[in-house]
């Protein structure tokens, strides 16, 4: 009984800010009042009327897609090598690829800033993608490695025995068999990249403000329910992707 009560309280603590934001997004006035005196989509219209948000949304979309795509491709190669070959230092590589960042995100952000500056890549889309790939790759490697473990090595031997070279085996047998894991990994990485703030804030010059960074900057200037409306939409998007990932069994893999 006490445990159940505790769980309900935990759920309330976690969910109430989110529900509050959604509630707030439908307020008609510039100030948020309880109770809500009327229902309005005014602030949703404001979001789309503000080019800063719309542009940032598309930037974030491109960034998340690029970072997730690159991370999944790289992770497939890395996970396959870890699973199927006896590399020297395998355990160390395994740890490196699958452990999320050990250093604090702030430190990593400063490091990436310095790094990209030195290479003359500061304030470029490419530098942002690289930083995001570094952040999300461990999750992709884990997810894909789990999918690869489910492909018995006999399957690959059988294909080779029938005349398939390594590349063909990967393309025609291994890849299709862990496609679900790859899609789950992609969506997961996409979600993480899309909502990443800490590292990104160091990397974004004026030219490249991702949506979360833009929201952060917007809030330092003013407070109005536009952000609530935007947040409500983002919550909807994240929820949709998360449901797909869960449906593909993606969260089980990372918690292993």
């Amino acid at each position: 009984m006490a445990l159940r009560l505790f769980n309900w309280i935990m759920a309330a603590v976690m969910l109430s800010p989110i529900l509050l934001i959604i509630w707030m997004s439908f307020t008609p006035g510039a100030m948020f009042r309880i109770p809500l005196e009327a229902f309005s989509l005014r602030w949703y219209r404001e979001v789309f009327a503000y080019p800063g948000f719309v542009n940032a949304f598309f930037l974030s979309l491109r960034l998340a897609a690029a970072a997730a795509g690159a991370a999944v491709a790289l992770s497939f190669v890395a996970a396959y090598a870890l699973a199927r070959t006896r590399l020297r230092g395998r355990a160390a590589l395994d740890a490196l690829f699958t452990a999320p960042l050990i250093v604090p995100a702030v430190v990593f952000g400063i490091a990436m800033l310095q790094f990209s500056n030195r290479l003359g890549l500061y304030n470029t889309f490419f530098a942002l993608v690289v930083a995001h790939v570094a952040i999300v790759t461990p999750y992709a490697v884990r997810s894909i490695a789990a999918a690869l473990r489910a492909v018995p090595i006999e399957m690959e031997w059988a294909a080779m025995n029938l005349g398939a070279r390594r590349g063909t085996v990967l393309l025609r047998i291994v890849l299709p068999l862990c496609a679900r894991g790859m899609v789950a990994a992609f969506l997961l990485c996409f979600l993480m990249s899309f909502s990443e703030v800490t590292v990104t804030i160091f990397m974004t010059g004026p030219g490249y403000q991702t949506l979360p960074v833009r929201i952060y900057n917007y809030l330092t200037d003013q407070v109005d329910p536009t952000v609530a409306a935007l947040s409500a939409m983002l919550i909807g998007l994240s929820l949709l992707l998360a449901l797909i990932v869960a449906g593909l069994g993606g969260f089980k893999e990372i918690s292993k």
């Binding site: 031997w157 294909a159 080779m160 025995n161 029938l162 005349g163 398939a164 070279r165």
Partner: protein, 369 residues
């Protein structure tokens, strides 16, 4: 020296194959030859190296030393996909995302067989294993026996020089296993393809193979036709492994007519066929096959007779397995169940056999096992 039964040049020849895993020897200078159209079984307990030998042939494992000669060419160092062998796995290893048709077609696609020929050959292969009706199904929708047949079709459709079967029946239940044994034998005969079957199942090896190689610790302990392996086991290990009961340590006592007297450990003396070079005092071992031992009245007219006490009777339907003791020596007898009934535990009966039914070997021979 070429084993009997091989006339032309062998399809496969293994010469001095060596492979170790740490301290475990999987192949210790192993030689083997498989003739055209011949079916050879590698029989042995788990860990004897039989699967490793198969993998060396397929190219999954590279031997440390020795040669794998397939159709006259040493294929060591050649990648798996360039070897003309087809492997059937214990767990079938069917591609779960491809239909039965595509599974069977895979090897032909890799060989860039033109489409009309590919269709015809896949259809023929599926017909051969009687699965034509299921070509659109995914492997997951098939029973174990059907999956096994798809795996066979997939291997045979590429017309390999050598078919390799790695414990292909061990995942099936007893009845299906027997059925598939016949099927594998029929396919192999029909296509005339040379085949190697790896198994630890004696019945499987006996019922399917032309010749059996009994393996132990990376070597071939004995090679021969099934009747030879069972009727004349060369070593005690082979005798044990092929399921002989009534194996006794013995000492040669002296000549007895055209035979020899053997003292069985435990106190009794039996006669056995004479082996060349035996002298009194030599160590030996002897087998009295349980199916050759007669019981009761039938034993009275035989030249080797002993009075025995029945310890235990196990009813097996058509036969009974009877455990007895002659003095301190335990015997096992396989007896046909007659309408008159079998004697029960505690009874005393006569048991007997012919001298020539006894298989006796010198314990010094080939290490003796």
């Amino acid at each position: 020296m070429r084993p009997a039964g091989i006339r032309a040049a062998p399809v496969l020849e293994l010469r001095g194959l060596v492979k170790r895993y740490g301290s475990v020897v999987a192949a210790a200078g192993l030689d083997l030859a498989v003739g055209d159209g011949e079916f050879v079984a590698l029989l042995g307990p788990s860990g004897c190296g039989k699967t490793t030998v198969l993998r060396c042939i397929a190219g999954i494992v590279e031997p440390e030393a020795g040669e794998v000669v397939l159709a006259g060419e040493n294929i060591c160092g050649k990648p798996i996909y360039a070897r003309d062998t087809a492997l059937v796995f214990q767990n079938y290893a069917l591609f779960p995302h491809l239909s039965v048709f595509e599974n069977v077609a895979f090897g032909l696609r890799m060989r860039r067989v033109p489409k009309p020929e590919l269709r015809a050959r896949v259809a023929e292969a599926l017909d051969l294993v009687r699965l034509s009706a299921l070509e659109k199904r995914l492997p997951g929708a098939l029973s174990g026996g059907q999956q096994q047949r798809v795996a066979l079709a997939r291997a045979l459709v590429v017309r390999p020089a050598l078919l390799l079967l790695d414990e292909p029946l061990s995942n099936l239940d007893a009845r299906l296993r027997e059925e598939m044994r016949g099927e594998i034998r029929r396919l192999q005969r029909t296509l005339g393809v040379a085949a190697i079957l790896v198994t630890h199942d004696i019945e499987e090896a006996f019922s399917v193979a032309d010749r059996i190689a009994v393996m132990r610790e990376g070597r071939i302990e004995q090679m021969g036709a099934p009747a030879e392996i069972y009727g004349a086991p060369a070593t005690r290990f082979v005798a044990d492994f092929v399921g002989h009961a009534n194996i006794f340590d013995a000492t040669v006592r002296g000549a007895a007519g055209r035979g020899v007297r053997l003292g069985i450990e435990g106190g009794i003396e039996i006669e056995a066929p004479m082996a060349p070079g035996w002298r009194a005092g030599d160590r030996a071992w002897a087998i009295i096959p349980p199916e050759r031992i007669r019981l009761g009245a039938a034993a009275l007219e035989l030249d080797q007779r002993f009075e025995a006490e029945i310890k235990e009777v196990t009813y097996l339907g058509g036969t009974s397995r009877i455990a007895l003791r002659v003095g301190a020596v335990p015997f096992m007898v396989a007896s046909q169940n007659a309408a008159t009934g079998t004697p029960g535990a505690g009874e005393r009966v006569m048991i007997g056999w012919e001298r020539d039914d006894v298989i006796a070997r010198s314990a010094a021979e080939r290490g003796g096992g």
